[in-house]
């Protein structure tokens, strides 16, 4: 079998970049940590930007696959790669100051982020279960380490331990499910597993598929596999919380969506109902639990559980419109959540505070950050002119169109309830009187720039989604079930 290695160039370069970042950290003089930190971050950002540009420039016109369907190089993977590299760049940019003050290991920190992005990219390309599993583990291992990187912080250590233990169990479950499916089907390549999965209801297939879903559900923090999420979100260094919330979720959705669309071209009724129940439970539990949170990171953890439930609504539809809506929502969600986390990271780096009550007076301390966080909250709640409005509208319309009106109605109800806790954050920033006169927070040009870009992205998706929708549509056309348009 001849393999065209040029197709894999972006991934190879990204792996090289990860090592390069580690080496740069090693060779730079140790006595000036601030400059070393900035230099390493600059290498990571420039490298990821270059890889993204190269991936876009060298993208093949049609769908290509290597190693007999193990990896796809197509528009679908390209869209996600661009998104993930963008997420990686944004996370590095927002964490420069945080790393300087809290972490103090720039090489490991940025290097592992690059490797995590690599894992996510491979998940979006994977066309075979074991490849997908390895990519997912690459991402997870990076995250396990990153979560525990704050040395001397007990919460961070506890979070990392929990994450590793539960993550290992979920990986075992996932792997066992894969082996059961392999035992029945004789293959792990998505396209060859074919219709057997949808119509074969032998106990082995049911158990195998259920275990696969459970393993993926853990990574997505679907209810009832979500219990790790709040502790990990709270304990992890805050930029890594953003990475877990955005990168790992989006990558797992990329994998799940491709798996479902490649395995079956027909309908999948029995499993659809199971997914629908998971979606309903996830968004309801996430929304109701978020109502009582006091820590901003825990609030965002539960809010992201609820958001995953909303995305699942689009996955459940299993139509092209549903898949398009999922992709569109993931892009909008990435901008929105990164904007929110950029503010939380900066506030924590400057004041070391992370309770919602500590945000009192932020509107005077830093009007820009207060405005960006407000926009992010409104977008997460699904209000116009922000991304969340159109993407949620699209998701729920697609689900209703596919016959899941009850799920759409439940999602809309949850979306309304969620407004309450998002407004609480806004209230602290603008209305509550701070106990001490807030000190004005000065933002570095790079964080201010990142905030403006993320805010602009959140609004751009909300007011002019046309071009993005076209790109998303081209991406899902690459999947077998949706080939050839709607």
């Amino acid at each position: 079998m001849r393999v065209d290695f040029s197709l894999l160039l972006p991934e190879m370069l990204l792996a090289g970049l990860g090592f390069l970042v580690l080496i740069v950290d090693l060779v730079l003089p140790q006595e000036r940590p601030e400059r070393r930190n900035k230099a390493v971050a600059a290498v990571a950002v420039a490298g990821m930007a270059a890889v993204a540009a190269m991936a876009l420039a060298t993208a093949p016109d049609r769908t290509e696959s290597v190693y007999g369907g193990l990896l796809f190089i197509d528009a679908y993977a390209l869209l996600f790669k661009t998104l993930f590299l963008g997420v990686g760049i944004a996370v590095v940019l927002m964490s420069v100051e945080y790393v300087g003050r809290v972490i103090r290991h720039p090489g490991e920190f940025y290097g592992l982020i690059v490797f995590a992005v690599l894992g996510a990219n491979l998940m979006a390309s994977a066309g075979e279960l074991l490849t997908a599993y390895i990519a997912l583990e690459l991402l997870s291992f990076c995250l396990f380490v990153l979560v525990g990187l704050t040395r001397g912080d007990r919460r961070s250590a506890e979070a990392s331990t929990k994450y590793i233990l539960l993550g290992a169990i979920s990986s075992a479950v996932l792997l066992y499910g894969i082996s059961l499916l392999y035992g029945t089907m004789g293959t792990t390549v998505f396209r060859e597993m074919g219709p057997g999965l949808a119509i074969n209801f032998s106990p082995t297939v049911i158990v195998g598929f259920a275990m696969l879903l459970a393993g993926i559900g853990f990574k997505l923090a679907l209810v009832p596999f979500h219990l790790w999420a709040p502790d990990v979100y709270e304990g992890a260094p805050t930029p890594i919380t953003a990475l877990v919330a955005v990168l790992s979720k989006a990558a797992t959705f990329a994998l799940l969506l491709r798996f479902l669309a490649e395995v079956s071209t027909g309908r999948f009724d029995q499993w659809q109902l199971a997914l629908a129940v998971l979606a309903a439970a996830t968004m309801t539990v996430g929304t109701l639990t978020a109502l009582v949170q006091r820590n901003i990171k825990r609030l965002l953890a539960y809010s992201s559980i609820a958001q995953v439930g909303f995305v699942m609504v689009g996955v459940v539809a299993m139509t092209e419109a549903g898949a398009n809506a999922v992709l569109l929502h993931l892009v909008g969600y990435a901008f929105t959540n990164l904007a929110a986390f950029a503010v939380v990271v900066t506030v924590e780096a400057k004041t070391r505070k992370e309770e919602i009550a500590d945000y009192a007076g932020l509107s005077t301390a830093s009007p820009l950050m207060a405005m960006v966080l407000t926009a992010a909250m409104f977008s997460l709640a699904g209000l116009p002119i922000f991304a969340g409005f159109i993407t949620k509208f699209y998701l729920f319309t697609a689900a209703a169109d596919a016959g899941y009106l009850w799920l759409a109605a439940l999602a809309i109800t949850n979306s309304v309830i969620s407004l309450y806790y998002y407004l609480r954050v806004v209230r602290e920033m603008y209305i509550s009187e701070p106990e001490v006169e807030p000190e004005r927070i000065r933002l570095s040009p790079s964080s201010a720039g990142a905030l403006w870009v993320l805010l602009a992205g959140t609004i751009a998706v909300g007011v002019y989604p046309g071009p993005l929708a076209a790109a998303v549509d081209a991406a899902t056309d690459a999947l077998r079930a949706y080939a050839g348009g709607a």
Partner: protein, 508 residues
């Protein structure tokens, strides 16, 4: 269409958004610049609204000044603008209140710039809802108008202390936003259901309306009567809440009292009309048979609104709460007029929306001016204001007389038309409506007597009367009240094609 005609409707949306964007970019100290820019923008909006009013062709039924821009292909959403007769009147109302509001808002001292930014987002949302004829954008702008409310009330509003309990401004803000968003949940579900049921792949209101009309003898599928019967209540309650429909009106007094003056003017004056407008636009036009099934319920609830609002207003001791409950009462006439499904009644409802909008804006402007000077709104503490505040008294009396339906002012014509429509369809409810008007006279005249002409305690002898700027803003609001009162012809002509459109849908 000329260049202006083609672009005027979108300009009414872009201009306030652009103003908000420019204001964001202004430095924080530039308070005077922010004020001048905002007032200039308000004036431009008024001119634009007047232009729409005069360019609108009264002899043609259907939507005019239509403009379609593709926006989101996957769902067939277009940025589709157009106005019918009712919408034109609402655009004019928005222009008048927005202009007066931007002038009054110059009184705001705290964070003037941010206040104007949020105010213009609100104005953009209101204009957008009135001129959108695509269901998605109708909903988009409807929600957009809610976005800034929480901060406007929460930051710049005022708390109320009662004898036994407090109503902090955060309470009013949260209640208003959550209730309206919860109601929009029903509207959202209704929109998705109608979109799927029609299966046209478009949210265009004209197309959906044509589809709805094609049912029955026309041969097309249409929306089935059962479907309409189930979906109409979603629309009625969802939009009705924003119109203050009893028993879901409780956000309105609390929210409007807590809000700063300009926001009360815009919200009670214009935004509540969005609710009634939504029932006409979505409910009657797209679900005519559902409307017929539910008309009696709406009629009864509207009548309860009138009576309940009036009685509640009589019981209030806070000047602003009196006006708040009087809004609930007067919106009842609008709901009654809509529920008559009679040409005269619907015309009355549309005119009442306009009349009440201007009148309430004037009310809130006056009450706001009194509060700024005396720092109280307690009607047992205020007394004899007429001797020191001649202009304030004059404006309050004009608003009050409009409210109780004095001939020669706009309220009289509007309510008369509603009553004629009501007597033609449900005479008993019509009688109850007239009783409501009498109750209005009781609480308004009692208020005028006590607060303005009552015995002077001397406590308020030091306060100033209106400044020329405030007087001008309120004068702007008085003009339409008087014009509609003495010469309603042009306004009725504008409403007529809009009513024809609705009646055609209802098959009357």
């Amino acid at each position: 269409m000329s260049f202006f005609e083609r672009h005027i409707l979108e300009t009414l949306i872009y201009l306030p958004m652009l103003t908000a964007a420019v204001l964001v970019a202004l430095p924080f100290g530039a308070r005077a610049a922010a004020r001048w820019l905002s007032v200039a923008s308000g004036l431009a909006l008024l001119v634009g609204s007047l232009y729409v009013f005069f360019v609108f062709d009264r002899s043609v039924d259907g939507f005019q000044l239509v403009r379609v821009l593709p926006w989101f292909d996957p769902l067939g959403i277009d940025f589709r603008l157009g106005v019918d007769g009712v919408a034109v009147l609402m655009v004019l109302l928005t222009g008048i209140v927005a202009f007066a509001g931007t002038i009054i808002a110059a009184n705001v001292e705290r964070e003037t710039k941010s206040y104007y930014v949020l105010l213009f987002i609100l104005i953009a949302g209101v204009y957008g809802t009135f001129v959108s004829i695509d269901l998605f954008f109708f909903f988009f702008f409807y929600e957009l108008a809610i976005v800034p409310m929480y901060l406007l009330i929460g930051v710049w509003g005022s708390s109320t202390k009662f004898k036994t309990f407090d109503r902090p401004k955060e309470y009013g803000a949260m209640k208003l936003v959550l209730m309206i968003v919860a109601a929009s949940l029903l509207v959202w579900v209704a929109i998705i259901v109608m979109y799927n049921e029609a299966g046209l792949g478009t949210f265009s209101i004209p197309a959906l309306s044509e589809f709805a009309l094609s049912g029955g003898e026309g041969g097309g599928p249409g929306f089935s009567p059962e479907f309409q019967r189930v979906v109409f209540p979603l629309v009625m309650v969802g939009f009705g809440l924003l119109a203050g429909l009893w028993p879901l009106h409780t956000w309105s007094p609390d929210g409007h009292v807590a809000a700063p003056t300009t926001v009360s003017m815009l919200h009670a004056g214009v935004l509540m009309k969005l609710g009634a407008f939504g029932i006409i636009r979505v409910g009657m036009l797209l679900l005519p048979e559902g409307m017929q099934d539910w008309a009696l319920v709406l009629f009864i609830l509207g009548t309860v609104n009138v009576i309940y609002g009036a009685i509640s207003a009589m019981a209030q001791t806070d000047l602003k709460y009196v006006v708040g409950y009087s809004s609930v009462s007067h919106m009842g006439y609008v709901l009654m007029g809509i529920a008559t499904m009679d040409p005269v009644g619907i015309t009355g409802a549309a005119l009442q929306m306009f009349s009440h909008g201007v009148m309430t804006a004037l009310f809130f402007a006056v009450v706001g001016a009194i509060y700024e000077r005396t720092h109280t709104r307690d009607i047992f503490v205020l007394n004899g204001l007429a001797s020191r505040m001649g202009w304030i008294t004059a404006f309050f009396v004009i608003a009050g007389l409009t409210s109780l339906g004095l001939p020669g002012l706009s309220g009289f014509i509007a309510e008369l038309l509603v009553f004629i429509g009501a007597f033609r369809t449900q005479p008993i409810l019509g009688v109850l409506g007239v009783i409501g008007a009498l109750l209005t006279a009781v609480y308004i005249l009692r208020l005028v007597g006590r607060v303005f002409y009552g015995e002077r305690s001397g406590e308020w002898d030091g306060v100033r009367d209106l400044s020329a700027r405030e007087g001008f803003a309120m004068g702007v609001l008085v003009v339409p009240i008087v014009v509609v009162g003495v010469y309603p012809g042009p306004f009725l002509d504008v409403i007529a094609p809009g009513v024809d459109l609705v009646l055609a849908a209802l098959g009357a």
